[in-house]
Every structure is written in structure tokens, then in C-alpha cells.
């Protein structure tokens, strides 16, 4: 691979930094919205916009610079307290922050920037700033000298082809040294412009006794012969203008220059070569002056070029390392390999006659424990707080509520809960959909809310927490709850349930998850355009998660999502079906039983149930449903796994053999090729063979559909 372009790397790093700054902005604005408007919070927001502007300028991202600049101007007024914060202003700031975020992403992806939206926001910002756009100047990115007191007036100054001569006088004042400036670099800079002869006037230097150490007594006269324009000479004095007296006078070109000094000035050993400038009078000056002249000496500054300074103190509260995501992926994969290899080792050891108490077997046990620890640690490397995703949801709420004209507030809890990065990415779409739903349908109109005695502002609560080895995310609205009669009617109308079915409240709630419940014409993506909850549930299940719903009329609805902490491993039950080895996630298996004549009932051809403590649980022949074999003659003596489905109901899966329970490493199936229904992922067994990991709920749903049965809740009472 060729050398990476450093500018490209910095650019990429800049956009990452922008994300961090945008997040800090959101935080700051949220804090201000919550009522805390101290100066540090305001500064955080200001600096974020300021830094984005600065970096954008470095990469020539003009639209971003322009927008950020105007935003920054208004923020600056707030910061300096010339502009008061009102709730309208804050709303504008939120919108502007959202737009800034959009601009950043468009710039990062090199896409075109649509003008319209930005202009509207800018106009409002300008209104608050009280400035017209024309007043905002182009950034001066040049070293233009400030107004100089030069009374020079040349006709054609820019005759750079010819050599001009100048007489420059320069006398520093005390203030000049106080700012860390020095005479020598200035003289050197002049010398760099051409040929010059420098003379020093030491007349004013008093006797040692009356010498004030920090008062400059020296002045210099430089005769410069140069092709440079006068502006360039002037620019040498840019930093010290006002801290010294200087003058640049052109002199007649005809007067020849030579290295000889002028007759009326005492010749000193001053050479035009910068490296050898020596100022004898400096010997007479005490300490401070020698400090100032330090750069003149050839003190070798020993510092190896690529030395990284060791930090003597921690830089910031959490020391953080930025790591390439590819490296983490590789590490995760390697750990996965380690686990697989270990399984193979365990398998071959098991087939020996070694006693479980032998050193080898105990060593293996220890080895497995250690590996498990490494695995847990590595998995958590990829974990990051859900905060940034929650902030995105904040924006969704803002936009959705504005779109439907409701006053809605997003309350978050547990935003520092850490979740695997991949999981977060794949949660974004489902969450967006559910949040939009809550705002659109969950919450009532403002009028209805007031009539019901509720606060006019609706609330959506988004929370995340770790609970018994899983991550639980809840979306709760304080709206009117699910309209159960209506939901039931829709399901009946769509033929999803028979017209005369009696369903419990929770069964009706779960109808929302049925495929086909959605009112949209196409079930495509999850951007909230009328896509059903079934797609949301599929997405959650694809993350090996579960989603459930509960609702109270008049009070609101809560969606509860439970996810594994990591996508990389799974506790599974290894089974055999028709000579194929498969894995079922252990967390859905509730029981195993054997089918006998006395617990097996056939309702109708193709639909059988098993009686479990009074309930009839529908049976599914995995071998048949996976297409491995035809329907069996009889199922008596077959082994059955009872699994619990997402909707709380049970199903019974017929398998040939249960082998064991173990933790398996999940290998994802590429999205690009055929996605088998009912198959969640794959794993590699100890013998190197691939075993498919089943998604039991999915299989059951598919099977029921294939059989033409409506997906009726299957708890039939005997």
C-alpha cells in the first residue's frame, strides 16, 4: 500500500472531530434548554462552532465556513451577553446546529449542498445578530500590515524587476521586548531580503552604573538593496509596529553600495550573513538582554525530529486512544478464532480417556476461563455510549413534533450505557421509527391532552440500562395508549385474525408486530414512512434481541427492547436435524420433552400440537420446514424443544437429537447473498464444519404462513 496522504488523514480526522464537537454542542444546547445557562456552557457551544469553522477553513469547505461563521457571530453575542437567550433563540440554535451537522456530513461525503434551508436559518440568525450579511467580512488570511505610519509615496512601487535601495531605521521600545519580540530576528529578516549593511548606534547606551537593564538603548540603521517590494519590507515590522520606531526611506539608486560602512558611522563588525551577526555592545548588557539574544548563538537545540514528548501529567480526565476500527475487527475475529480452536481442542481431548481431574483437563478448563475473560474484554472495546444515538433521536423528536404541530420533549436516561458499536448502528433505524411513531401516533394532540388533564407538552422517554447481562432499551410515551378496538378491527379487516377471535389486551398489542399490519403499500426501508412494526422487530431480532410492548389506556405505551451485550458470541444448544447440525439460541429454549402418543394431538392434517401441562403448543417439524426432508409419518418418540416466541407464546420444535450446550462464535452471513429465512447466522464447530444458527421465532412464523394458517396466537386452552 502506498503512503497515505497526510492531508487526507487529517481531513478524515477533522470530520471525526466535528462529530465530537457537534455532540458537545447538542449537550450544551440541551443544558441551556434545561435552564442552566452559565458562561462555560455557552462557551462550549461557541467553541464548538468556532473550531468547526476553523478546521473547515483549512480544508476550503466554503459553505461550511460561511454558515459556521454566521452562527458563531450570534453565539459570540450571547457569549458576551449582548444578546439575551430566549426560548425562541434556543430553538433557532437547535435548528442551526442540526443544519450545521448536515453540512458537515455533506462536506465529508463530498456531496452537493442545497442552499434553501441554510438560507432560512441564516436569515433568522442575522435577525437576531442585528447585522446585515454584508457586514461580515471576508477572512483576511494574509499578513497584511496594520496601518503603518509610513509617509512614503512611490509612483511605481511594484517594479520588482529592478533593485531598489532603502534606508531603514529601527529603534525598539521597551514594550517590544515585553511581547517576546527581539531586534535580531527583525534585522535578520531584513537581511534576507537582499544585500544590506547594518550599523548599530550605541550612542545612547549609558554607563553601566546608570544602565536600566530592561531599557533598550540601541538603534540600527540598515541600508538595504533589494528587489522586494516595499510591502514586503514593511511586513517585517508587522508584529512590532507600535512597539518601536522605524522608518523605511527609499534612497537614490545611484549611490553605490558596497560592503564598506558609511564614513559617518563607526564601522562595527556587522556582516550581512545572518548566522554571523554579532553585536559587541550586547556584552555590556546584563542577563535579560543576553536571554533576548539567545537565538543568535548557535546553541544546538538537540531534539530528534520524530520525538514524541512524554506527557508528565495526564492530559485530560480520560486518557483515550484512537484506534482504527479495522484493527479492532481483526482482534475480535482473532479472539473468535481462539474460541473456535479451543472448542476443537476440547473436542479432541474429550474423545481421549483423560480423566476430568487430570492436569490436561484442568488446564483446559483454566484455558477456557481465561479465553472467556479475554473475549469479554475485547467485546467491550467496541462498546460505546448510546449518547450520540440518543442525541440523534432528540433531533428526530424535534423534527417530527414540528411536522405534526405537537409540543414534544425527549427525556433520556442512561445515555452513558455502553453498547457494541455495531449494535448501535443497527439500532438507529428501528429506534427512529419507534420515536416517530410515538410522536405521530402515540401522543395525542395538544388539545386532547389538555382535555384529558395532561400537560400540553408530550413526553417521550428513551432509556438504556444493563440488566442481567443484556442491554435493555425502552421507549415510553405518555400518550393515549394503544387503541385496542381499532387495532383489532384493522387486523380483522386485513384478514390477519378471524373476525370472532377473542384476544387479551396484550395479544391485541402484539398484533402490531404482525407482518401485513402496516398500512403502507410497500414494506421497504425503515425511515418511518408507514413501515410496520414487523420490520422493526425483524431488525431487533437480527441483533439477537427481543422486543415487547405494553400499553395502558390513557397513560401511554412502552416498547421494551432487550439486546445481547455483544453480537459476537451466543450461548447455544447444538442439535441435529436430518443429519444437519444446527444451533438454537439457548435463551429461547424453555423446556425439552419427548413426544408420546398421549401428549401428541393432531388438530388437522399438517397441524399438530403437544400437550404441555394443559396448554396445547403447536408443533413444527424442523426437518420439514428447513427443507431437509419430507413430512414424517409419525412423530412419536421424537424430541421436542419448547421455545418461547417474541409475542410471549410458545412453539414446539421437533428435532432428531440434542447434542450439547455450548458457547459458539457467531459468524455473520453476508447480506449480499441469499438470506435463508429462519437462519440468523452461522458458526464453525469444533470439527471445522459450519453449523447454521437458527432464529426459531422466524422459522415458526414462516412455517405458519407457509401452511396457510393465519398467525393466530396459539395458546389454545384444552
Amino acid at each position: 500500500m502506498t503512503n497515505p496522504d497526510p492531508m487526507a488523514e487529517i481531513r478524515a480526522s477533522f470530520f471525526i472531530e466535528c462529530e465530537e464537537l457537534l455532540e458537545a454542542m447538542q449537550d450544551g444546547l440541551q443544558t441551556m434548554d434545561d435552564g442552566q445557562q452559565d458562561s462555560e456552557t455557552i462557551n462550549v457551544v461557541f467553541r464548538a462552532v468556532h473550531s468547526i469553522k476553523g478546521g473547515a477553513g483549512a480544508f476550503g469547505l466554503e459553505p461550511l465556513v460561511r454558515f459556521a461563521h454566521r452562527y458563531e457571530t450570534v453565539m459570540d453575542q450571547v457569549r458576551s451577553e449582548t444578546l439575551a437567550i430566549t426560548s425562541d433563540l434556543l430553538k433557532l440554535f437547535f435548528r442551526a446546529a442540526d443544519h450545521l451537522s448536515d453540512l458537515v456530513r455533506l462536506c465529508r461525503d463530498d456531496m452537493d449542498i442545497p442552499q434553501a434551508e441554510g438560507d432560512a436559518i441564516l436569515a433568522e440568525l442575522d435577525l437576531h445578530a442585528g447585522a446585515t450579511p454584508a457586514e461580515e467580512e471576508d477572512e483576511d488570511i494574509d499578513f497584511q500590515p496594520l496601518g503603518l505610519s509610513l509617509d512614503l509615496d512611490f509612483g511605481d512601487d511594484d517594479d520588482t524587476t529592478g533593485t531598489s535601495s532603502y534606508r531603514i531605521t529601527f529603534a525598539p521600545a521597551t514594550e517590544m521586548f515585553e511581547t517576546g519580540n527581539d531586534a535580531v530576528p527583525i534585522l535578520r529578516a531584513l537581511a534576507d531580503l537582499g544585500d544590506c549593511t547594518t550599523t548599530c548606534d550605541a550612542e545612547r547606551v549609558p554607563a553601566l552604573a546608570s544602565l536600566a537593564p530592561e531599557t533598550p538603548y540601541l538603534s540600527w540603521t540598515v541600508m538595504l538593496s533589494t528587489t522586494a517590494a516595499i510591502d514586503e519590507i514593511t511586513s517585517v515590522f508587522e508584529f512590532v509596529d507600535g512597539l518601536c520606531t522605524f522608518a523605511i526611506e527609499p534612497v537614490d539608486n545611484e549611490v553605490g553600495f558596497s560592503d564598506e560602512a558609511f564614513p559617518d558611522l563607526p564601522p562595527l563588525d556587522l556582516l550581512p550573513e545572518p548566522e554571523e551577526v554579532e553585536l559587541p555592545p550586547l556584552d555590556m548588557l546584563p542577563e535579560p538582554a543576553e536571554q533576548i539574544s539567545a537565538p543568535v548563538e548557535d546553541t544546538p537545540v538537540v531534539a530528534p525530529k520524530n520525538e514524541k514528548p512524554a506527557r508528565t501529567a495526564p492530559a485530560s480526565p480520560n486518557a483515550v486512544v484512537r484506534v482504527d476500527l479495522d484493527r479492532i475487527e481483526r482482534l475480535v475475529n482473532l479472539v473468535g478464532e481462539l474460541v473456535i480452536n479451543q472448542a476443537m481442542l476440547a473436542q479432541s481431548l474429550e474423545s481421549t480417556t483423560l480423566s476430568p481431574h487430570s492436569d490436561a483437563m484442568r488446564g483446559l478448563g483454566e484455558f477456557q476461563r481465561l479465553t472467556r475473560d479475554i473475549q469479554d474484554s475485547v467485546m467491550m472495546i467496541r462498546a460505546q455510549p448510546v449518547k450520540s444515538m440518543f442525541q440523534r433521536m432528540s433531533r428526530i423528536v424535534r423534527e417530527a413534533s414540528a411536522a405534526v404541530g405537537k409540543d414534544v420533549r425527549l427525556v433520556t436516561d442512561g445515555e452513558n450505557t455502553e453498547v457494541d458499536k455495531t449494535v448501535i448502528e443497527r439500532l438507529a433505524d428501528p429506534l427512529t421509527h419507534m420515536i416517530r411513531n410515538a410522536v405521530d401516533h402515540g401522543l395525542e394532540d395538544t388539545d386532547a391532552r389538555i382535555a384529558a388533564g395532561k400537560p400540553s407538552q408530550g413526553q417521550v422517554r428513551l432509556s438504556a440500562a444493563h440488566r442481567s447481562g443484556r442491554v435493555v432499551i425502552e421507549i415510553k410515551d405518555d400518550g393515549g395508549g394503544i387503541n385496542r378496538p381499532r387495532v383489532k378491527q384493522i387486523a380483522i379487516d386485513k384478514g390477519l385474525i378471524p373476525a370472532d377471535s377473542t384476544l387479551s389486551d396484550s395479544e391485541i398489542d402484539n398484533l402490531l408486530f404482525l407482518p401485513g399490519f402496516s398500512t403502507a403499500a410497500t414494506v421497504s426501508d425503515l425511515s418511518g414512512r408507514g413501515v410496520g412494526m414487523d420490520v422493526v422487530r425483524t431488525a431487533i431480532q437480527a441483533l439477537s434481541g427481543r422486543i415487547s410492548i405494553s400499553s395502558t389506556k390513557g397513560e401511554g405505551t412502552t416498547f421494551s427492547i432487550s439486546l445481547p451485550l455483544t453480537l459476537a458470541v451466543l450461548d447455544g444448544m447444538v442439535i441435529k436435524v436430518a443429519d444437519e447440525t444446527l444451533v438454537i439460541p439457548l435463551n429461547v429454549v424453555t423446556e425439552t420433552l419427548t413426544l408420546r402418543a398421549d401428549n401428541l394431538d393432531e388438530i388437522q392434517p399438517g397441524l399438530a400440537v403437544v400437550r404441555v401441562r394443559g396448554s396445547m403448543v403447536p408443533l413444527f417439524d424442523l426437518g420439514r420446514h428447513l427443507g431437509y426432508r419430507k413430512q414424517k409419518e409419525t412423530y412419536v418418540d421424537d424430541i421436542v424443544l419448547l421455545i418461547s416466541k417474541e409475542d410471549g407464546n410458545q412453539a414446539a420444535l421437533i428435532v432428531d437429537e440434542i447434542q450439547d450446550q455450548r458457547q459458539v462464535v457467531i459468524k455473520g452471513l453476508d447480506d449480499n447473498f441469499y438470506r435463508a429465512p429462519g437462519i440468523a447466522a452461522a458458526t464453525i464447530l469444533g470439527d471445522g464444519q459450519i453449523a447454521l444458527i437458527l432464529d426459531p421465532s422466524d422459522i415458526v412464523t414462516q412455517a405458519a404462513q407457509d401452511a396457510g394458517h393465519p398467525n393466530v396466537p396459539q395458546k389454545l386452552e384444552a
Binding site: H625, G627, G668, F673, P677, I679, A682, I684, L692
Partner: protein
């Protein structure tokens, strides 16, 4: 799949399928390996043989002859899998045998007339002649992209 118009020649891996010569741009070939038993995928199109373990990666394998719609002979000798990579995902193509690696000048490639070979339209990108034998150059993108309509 690289289709560089800057280079004047292209390197192809040629292989046998049902008695005929096919080829692939060598740039998308990752490796060649022997056949191992594939774990079948439920309800997959019949040309999808299943998945195999490729050094820790789950690799889908398809019977290329069946995919191209060639008549499937009863006794198949298919025992070579060509592992290809297209747009970041890998697939295994089951073929009879690998023949050679040849270099063909861009100018010698002729576009394939719209030949329907069974269900395969667009599978063959171009043709070339070599030692009086016709070699078909596969359009890998078409071959590995499985559409809804292909599902069993």
C-alpha cells in the same frame, strides 16, 4: 470487477464447465480450492449448494453450471471451487476444473451477443478466441447477485 480501460490487456483465469471454456478476470479470484461438503441453506435456490468454512469465514458456494443454466449432468465431476470477491463479499464457484491463466489483449475481447443460455442472460460479458477455441468471459457481478426471482 476491474474493467480498466487504461490497460491494454487483461489476465484471465480459464476453467472448464460442462465441457466448455469459461474465464474470469484474475483480479477477482482470491483462491482455488477443492470441494468440501457444504452445509445446505434451507429454501435456497437449487444452484446454491450451501456454505463452507474458508479459514474461519462462512463462504457461500454456488454450482456455476446450474447458475448459468447449463444442462446439469447426472454424474457431476465438479470438484474445484474458485473463490471470488465482488464488492467486498466472497463467493465460491463450483466448477469442473481450472485450466490456465492467460493474458488477452483488450482488443481481442468481443462483446457477447445477446445469447440466452437457459436462464442466463447477461452472465457472459464478452468472448474471445484462443487457439481456435471460444472462451467465455463471465460477468461476475451478474453471476453473484442473486435476485428475489431466483429464490426457490
Amino acid at each position: 470487477m476491474s474493467d480498466s480501460d487504461t490497460s491494454t490487456s487483461v489476465e484471465l483465469l480459464t476453467f472448464k464447465l460442462g465441457g466448455q471454456e469459461y474465464s474470469l478476470d484474475i483480479m477477482c479470484v482470491i483462491e482455488i480450492r477443492g470441494w468440501t461438503r457444504a452445509t445446505p441453506l434451507p429454501h435456497a435456490p437449487s444452484f446454491m449448494k450451501g456454505v463452507i468454512n474458508l479459514r474461519g469465514t462462512v463462504l457461500p458456494v454456488m454450482d456455476l453450471a446450474e447458475r448459468l443454466g447449463l444442462p446439469v449432468t447426472k454424474h457431476t465431476n465438479r470438484n474445484v471451487i474458485i473463490v471470488v470477491k465482488h464488492e467486498n463479499s466472497m463467493t465460491g464457484l463450483l466448477v469442473d476444473a481450472v485450466s490456465d491463466i492467460i493474458t488477452i489483449a483488450q482488443d481481442d475481447l468481443q462483446p457477447s451477443p445477446d445469447v440466452t443460455s437457459g436462464s442466463g442472460q447477461g452472465f457472459i460479458k464478452s468472448l474471445t478466441l484462443r487457439d481456435d477455441q471460444m472462451i467465455r468471459i463471465l460477468d461476475l457481478a451478474h453471476v453473484v447477485k442473486i435476485l428475489e426471482s431466483d429464490a426457490a
